[in-house]
């Protein structure tokens, strides 16, 4: 395997409703910033891959329009995943492993959720025969998982609120954060219930945004970045979707991915978890085997901003940034999609 690292990360400010710019327009300056950070011209990128969803964008081929933002000329080597952009990063990593002539990659993700109602729209990723016609929204599905955790004696509503309080507190140091602040658990427990036992603070905000990560291999990475965030392990796995066929207190695919990525092989300083709902944070810490001294979501995690389809990639960027700046030596990035932690990706990033 070649050594491949994240050498630059850029993201737009997380906004509840980006009124003026469309997806490609949000993305364009972010891509320019990432290239500038990496010290690369667009022509020096060997491979490009993006992640997005047509149903979130409200039109087919939404990724084609986004290509306008990155100047795909002369023709580029490029691909797209209908998935969170973390999977686009994975495809770049694979492309770089498979082909020694690919030394740099640009990954991007974008979403403008404010246009739709993601809570409802996401219902159409369920089983179209026996689930979608019911139109059970995603917060309700996550609430079924939250309740399962409580009933199994694995967590309480206070534990959920504590996760939110921690995230919002961490977000105070994140200049891109949409939600932040100091809240006590008792304060949070007075917030309105959306789908019991989940309250407002247990759920991610609606966010418009875009993010870009640049990868480089071996000597190229060393030349372009003083302290690249090396990808030491990366893996993704999936479980069946039907939540009635799963033990909702577990995320077996996250556990396998963490094991394959080698999370347990050393001390983890920081971890960024794509836990959309607070109960998922509790499940993931266990499945990934994160120790109590590991700082979870130093960026504020998903609760400070959730630019869906880019959210998982942001987790990679936030871990990498801290390694690049020398604030951490070893970090874990996690991404998920599907209801109740159905599909999970885990990566280990290191400064050495």
């Amino acid at each position: 395997m070649r050594d491949i690292a994240i050498i630059a990360f850029a993201q737009s400010a997380n906004k509840r409703n980006e009124q003026i710019y469309n997806e490609a327009e949000i993305l364009a300056p972010v891509a320019r910033e990432a290239l500038q950070k990496a010290g690369l011209k667009k022509e020096e990128i060997d491979f490009t891959c993006s992640g997005s969803s047509d149903y979130l964008a409200g039109q087919p081929f939404s990724f084609v329009i986004a290509l306008n933002a990155i100047g795909a000329w002369p023709p580029i080597q490029e691909s797209h995943v209908e998935a969170d952009a973390a999977w686009a990063l994975y495809e770049c990593w694979i492309a770089m492993q498979a082909d020694e002539s690919i030394n740099t990659s640009l990954v991007y993700g974008f979403g403008k959720q404010s246009m739709g109602s993601p809570r409802d729209v996401m219902n159409i990723l369920n089983d179209p025969y026996v689930e979608t016609p019911l139109w059970c929204d995603t917060i309700s599905m996550a609430a079924l998982q939250g309740r399962a955790l409580i009933d199994a004696g694995l967590a309480t509503e206070r534990d959920f609120a504590a996760v939110a309080a921690r995230n919002l507190k961490h977000a105070k140091s994140n200049p891109k954060a949409q939600c932040k602040g100091d809240f006590t658990v008792d304060e949070l427990l007075r917030s309105p219930t959306l789908a019991s036992p989940l309250r407002k603070h247990d759920c991610p905000p609606i966010t418009d945004g875009a993010c870009v990560v640049i990868l480089a291999a071996g000597d190229t990475a060393k030349k372009l970045c003083k302290r690249p965030a090396w990808i030491r392990g990366i893996d993704h796995r999936i479980d069946v979707q039907a939540i009635g066929r799963r033990d909702l207190t577990r995320a077996p695919s996250a556990q396998i991915a963490a094991e394959k990525a080698g999370v347990g092989a050393g001390k983890v300083d920081i971890a960024e978890l794509h836990a959309l709902f607070t109960p998922q944070d509790i499940i993931l810490r266990k499945e990934l085997g994160l120790a109590s001294d590991c700082v979870i979501n130093p960026s504020g995690g998903v609760h400070q901003g959730n630019p869906m389809m880019g959210t998982g990639l942001v987790r990679f960027g936030e871990v990498a940034d801290r390694i690049i700046r020398g604030e951490a030596n070893r970090g874990v990035a996690h991404a998920t999609q599907g209801p109740c932690l159905q599909q999970n990706m885990v990566a280990v990033l290191e400064g050495k």
């Binding site: 469309n22 490609a24 327009e25 364009a28 100047g71 404010s114 159409i124 016609p133």
Partner: protein, 167 residues
Amino acid sequence: MSEAQSTEKKPVTYINTPVAVKYDYTAGKATSDFMRAVAQGKILGNRCPQCNRVYVPNFLVCVQCAVPMGEPFEVPDSGIVLTFCIVNIKFYDQVLEVPYVSAYVLLDGTDLPLMHLVQECNVNDVRMGMRVKAVWKEELSPSLESIRYFKPTGEPDAALETFKEYL
């Protein structure tokens, strides 16, 4: 009433699952600027400072160079038909009467054709290189539908050699 109900004894072989999702669609800055101008009877374009091409509609970023485009300016509402097709097919959600001509119209002084209708002539008389001019509606709105269509001006056609590079 579904077929499943009318054939009570037959096993169910299919289900109806309508999907309708609503969006509060926003057009973005470049398109909004463009359409606001259309509502005043103007067509906007802008130039890339790097490749020097004029884009219509105006873009925020050059799709080729990925650098911010220059300030939008008004371009003429006349030009040539680069190429076209005559649409004869009917499909779901269609709003136009067939047959109609869907054409790439290259406005004078610009480098990117606009797709629009060509009317006021027999569909079979439309030609590549034919000179056309916009016919505007009386009531303008922020939509390209403010231009009813493009009509032939009667000027001589442009020779293929003069617009080959835009095909």
